[in-house]
């Protein structure tokens, strides 16, 4: 009766999962950092422009206040996107691990 080498399946799955995690989460962290940097730079420039417009009398105090408070709402929008993308990365990882496991099992039982 043929038997299945479970240790080999586990070893293959762990090795593949480790590689998948490295690639997937490195990409996610890189994109998240880039997004945060981009937002901070954009918010800084936006506040500078709004302040200048107020000094030139092209907008009033209420406009300026709304533009500044809008950056806070926008920061929350960015944070929610990153929270969602982090969840999506975890889902992708879990599904990837399952696929690696399936491949390892079928490779092991192939006669």
């Amino acid at each position: 009766m043929p038997s299945v080498d479970i240790d080999s399946i586990v070893k293959t799955t762990l090795s593949g999962s480790e590689q998948l995690a490295k690639t997937l989460f490195r990409n996610y962290v890189g994109q998240a950092t880039k997004d945060v940097d981009g937002f901070l730079q954009s918010a800084k420039e936006g506040i500078e422009r709004a302040t200048q417009l107020r000094l030139e009398g092209k907008i009033d105090d209420e406009d300026l206040e709304d533009l500044i408070l809008g950056k806070k709402d926008l920061a929350t929008m960015h944070a929610l996107k990153q929270a969602g993308l982090a969840k999506a990365a975890v889902d992708t990882f879990v599904n990837g691990v399952v696929q690696i496991l399936v491949d390892a099992v079928f490779a092991a039982v192939k006669i």
Partner: protein
């Protein structure tokens, strides 16, 4: 043979578990299209806010309705918390994005051109966060 069947069952179980335990909804083309089209509508409408609110009432109502439809569509999807919250912030009349913009336009009758141009940047960015999250969700074929 029994061992092989048991292994297959185990694999099937893990597959089902992985599917059932998704942390976030998968990518949805309809949701993506609703977000991109309402972005274009909202920005076009904002460009008219130098004129009287009352004169644009019909178009304002149409855009608000399309935003409501996009929000309700996303609200009906399971595990979609972040996107739903994003729509709520964007639409909130007491906030400082699109809902707040419409409230200010309503209260003040018309808005400064320079303010509108600055606000359009923020509203476009806000929509991009909804669109970007949808685009980043896992495709079901992955």
């Amino acid at each position: 043979m029994r061992k092989f069947n048991a292994t297959r069952c185990l694999v099937a179980f893990y597959l089902a578990l992985a599917t059932a335990c998704s942390l976030i909804a998968t990518y949805d083309q309809v949701a993506y299209e609703k977000a991109t089209s309402t972005k274009a509508e909202a920005l076009a409408l904002m460009g008219k806010a130098t004129g009287p609110y009352a004169s644009n009432q019909k178009e304002i109502d149409e855009v608000k309705l399309d935003l409501d439809k996009a929000y309700e569509y996303d609200r009906g999807r399971a595990s979609n918390t972040e996107t739903i919250k994003q729509w709520e912030i964007l639409r909130d009349p007491n906030g400082h994005l699109f809902g707040g913009f419409l409230r200010r336009w309503h209260d003040r009758g018309s808005l400064h051109e320079e303010y509108i141009q600055e606000k359009k940047r923020d509203i476009a960015d806000a929509f991009d966060q909804i669109i970007g999250l949808e685009r980043g969700k896992r495709r079901t074929t992955e």
